[in-house]
Symmetry: C2
Subunit: 279 residues, 2 copies
């Protein structure tokens, strides 16, 4: 990440855009997606750590770019992100559009800078990341569903939240030289869990704890698991999904460690899980 | 292009975003950049035409995406593009942001779908395209200069207009298995010529001929070669730059044909060139 952002600095670059890029990426949030990616790569033997690092950085750059665009006035119009002013509030709307665009481009740039020994892996990582970012299955499509009168709920959640978790597990496996396909389900289930956890956080935390405005789902009339199942119903659903996620882990050297990581990440994203369950 | 756009259609994708993507790309403008790319590839032997097609499509997808974002209310706030309503007027601002994002992602996706025989070329094409799109040298940086109080004019023009012409000549060469570096100057000079031609068009044509609002440079207080040199001064400058462009063409089998193409493209972009000169 640091190398990617440093590469944008130059007397030939407009200083505010360079500053906005750094602001959008540092200090980071929980960095959950690159952590999952790296843990999967380790579980698969991690025979090309430089490739894994690049994959993790690329994935987080896409995630940061998507947050910058999601916060724009025409979407969530969010004043806060990660406990500080959103990019369009701290800089401007034009710089916010360009920051998101630049982070998307940088993600693919990072993946393309490979040694010839790993060209095939690099190209497959680019294919996975583009598939989980662009339409029809990626986060752009997920955000696009919010412009429809009639939402396909399962497509919406899978693409809006699930896509980058599928990218995390599949890119981790591919960075370590393994097939992507067996790792789809783990990513999809972590994505579902994250969605339910996010719905719980949106309802249960206050703005200081969350680092961004609360009650956004209600405000934007977005579907929310808590509205559908109630708090305890949503908590049960989260437990079930995490159980399924762990059961779906493909057989690999680091299987047990990976299961622990999924549980730990689940505890991180939902403060209440610590008190009520130890999935 | 058609294949890339078709790949976004699915019952899992939000229909309006899919429609907006098609609207932003078809019918096209002059398709100058992919024409230059393809002509350079042909001049270099074009031993992998499928690779050339993908490179040309990727470059035009980036260009179309940049137009969609440039037209946004926070930038040019343009009502018209290519003689029809701009994407944010025809659809909405959220869909316009997502359309631009999606087109950027699709560009890299198109390049990543290669046969293993050409993996190295594909990765180099991705590196060139990302360099000429993102900061510090690409079109995002070019647009970013418009948010600065003090503009570095040569960096501004080189990145805002020149970058995708450099991408065109370098990607054409690389798609055909040649080195990128000797093709930098041709791209940069075509970019300069295009910038001067665009300045002339902005001042001299009416809205119907241009297919977008005129007088935008004046309105946005952007630097303009006509304001600096006058119409006949700017025309002379255009002639000089084109002469330099043709002189810079690296030695290759299709050198003469390439020189003709540069002249033809120059005539296309500046209606007055037809009457006043035959560079």
């Amino acid at each position: 990440m640091s190398r990617a952002i440093a590469s944008t600095k130059s007397p030939d670059a407009p200083p505010k855009l360079t500053e906005a890029l750094e602001y959008a990426v540092f200090p980071g949030g929980a960095r959950i997606r690159p952590t999952i990616l790296t843990t999967v790569a380790l579980a698969c033997g991690d025979d090309a750590p430089e490739m894994t690092d690049r994959a993790a950085a690329a994935l987080e750059l896409i995630h940061c770019g998507s947050l910058v665009h999601d916060d724009l006035p025409c979407f969530d119009d969010a004043d806060l992100r990660r406990g500080k002013a959103s990019v369009h509030r701290a800089f401007s709307e034009p710089l916010s559009v360009l920051t998101g665009d630049s982070l998307i481009v940088l993600a693919f740039d990072v993946l393309s800078r490979q040694t010839p020994a790993h060209s095939e892996r690099a190209l497959e990582l680019i294919r996975i990341l583009s598939r989980q970012t662009g339409p029809p299955y990626g986060i752009c499509a997920g955000q696009g569903w919010e412009s429809e009168e009639k939402i396909n709920l399962s497509s919406y959640h899978r693409s809006k939240t699930g896509a980058l978790f599928v990218a995390a597990t599949q890119m981790g496996a591919v960075a370590a030289g393994q097939d992507a396909e067996p790792w789809y389900e783990l990513g999809a289930r972590i994505g579902e869990a994250f969605q339910v956890a996010d719905d719980l956080r949106d309802v249960m935390l206050d703005q200081d704890e969350l680092g961004k405005p609360v009650g956004q789902d209600d405000l934007h009339a977005r579907p929310n698991a808590v509205a559908e199942f109630g708090v305890s119903g949503a908590m049960q659903r989260l437990k079930d999904i995490l159980g399924g996620a762990i059961a779906s882990i493909p057989s690999c050297p680091g299987e047990a460690q990976l299961a622990r990581m999924v549980t730990l990440q689940a505890q991180k994203i939902t403060p209440n899980i610590k008190k009520t369950s130890r999935v």
